[in-house]
């Protein structure tokens, strides 16, 4: 992967205020593939009875990771924006565990980038959530 491109993606995603407030970190950047993680935090709790974090926080991580994957695709020029994103919540994220997401931009056309992602906690056998979406291409 081109260092210049990698740096552009890194710089773009390092300064998003909402991502910063959720504590998101980039784990790796490849060609159309990005890994990100988000630490557990009590302020993200969505269900006080179980202390499981809110689906919206997982959605944010997946959306950010998918956007980064779309941007890191070799044929993608400039930044991107979400057209639509669907998230399936397959099981509650285990409280006190970090959430990791890996997104892949598996197809890129003139106008649309198609992206899929998976969110995991420490049990990597069973995903917490999966996402599929479309993103704007061409900058």
């Amino acid at each position: 992967m081109l260092e210049k491109k990698k740096k552009a993606v890194e710089d773009f995603f390092a300064v998003l205020p909402h991502s910063i407030s959720l504590g998101m970190k980039i784990d790796f950047i490849g060609d159309g593939e990005v890994g990100m993680s988000m630490p557990y935090d009590k302020k993200l709790i969505g269900d006080p009875k179980t202390e499981v974090i809110h689906g919206g926080a997982v959605f944010s991580l997946l959306d950010t990771c998918c956007g980064a994957a779309a941007m890191s695709h070799p044929d993608q020029k400039g930044p991107t924006a979400t057209i639509d994103l669907r998230v399936d919540y397959m099981r509650p994220a285990t409280p006190k565990q970090k959430i990791k997401a890996v997104a892949t931009c598996y197809n890129l056309t003139k106008n649309v980038a198609f992206v899929r992602a998976v969110a995991l906690d420490e049990n990597e056998e069973k995903p917490v959530a999966m996402a599929a979406g479309a993103f704007v291409t061409g900058g």
Partner: protein
């Protein structure tokens, strides 16, 4: 038979507002995003006052897709729970000062949530209203619309499916 006089409006409002605020305050993520709720009768509008922490692209600036999705999902969950609570607190068979015990109340769980980003979210307050299109014993389907200045110009909409809490 004596006609029962209607409840004073202040009593009714107090009961409803107390139940709604108890529900909202029980969820930390709602305060984290700063979502507020406006209640008119049983109808609630979710409000997301603008703050910098919600921004995705700081160059435009535009709201982060994640904060928009979370706002929509919160609206849907609160609408579903509020319908449940409303049925209980407005049940004439129960005592007038009956307040649902939220320690016992379980929240609906999201099965899936899908968001359409129609326009970029401007750096200003957002509003959302959820409509429960179907609710059964186990599953519910909810549609949420969000707008900023103009009710007719939606900037995002979402549809989600939820697993309803099961009575013990």
């Amino acid at each position: 038979m004596a006609i029962k006089s209607p409840e004073p409006v202040a009593v009714i409002k107090k009961r409803r507002n107390k139940a709604l605020s108890k529900l909202i305050k029980s969820i930390p993520y709602i305060s984290f995003l700063g979502v507020e709720f406006d209640r008119r009768g049983d109808e609630i509008t979710a409000i997301l006052p603008f703050k910098n922490d919600l921004v995705g692209n700081p160059n435009l600036p535009a709201l982060h897709g994640g904060s928009i999705a979370a706002f929509l999902e919160i609206s849907a969950i609160i609408e579903l729970s509020w319908m449940q609570i409303w049925r209980e607190i407005e049940n004439p068979k129960l005592k007038a000062d009956y307040l649902i015990d939220l320690e016992i109340l379980s929240l609906p769980k999201t099965i899936d949530f899908s968001v359409d980003y129609l326009r970029s979210g401007l750096p200003r307050d957002s509003y959302a209203r959820a409509k429960v299109n179907r609710v059964g014993r186990r599953y519910a389907s909810v549609h949420v619309e969000a707008w900023q200045d103009n009710r007719d110009r939606l900037f995002a909409q979402g549809t989600g499916h939820f697993l309803m809490p099961q009575p013990n």
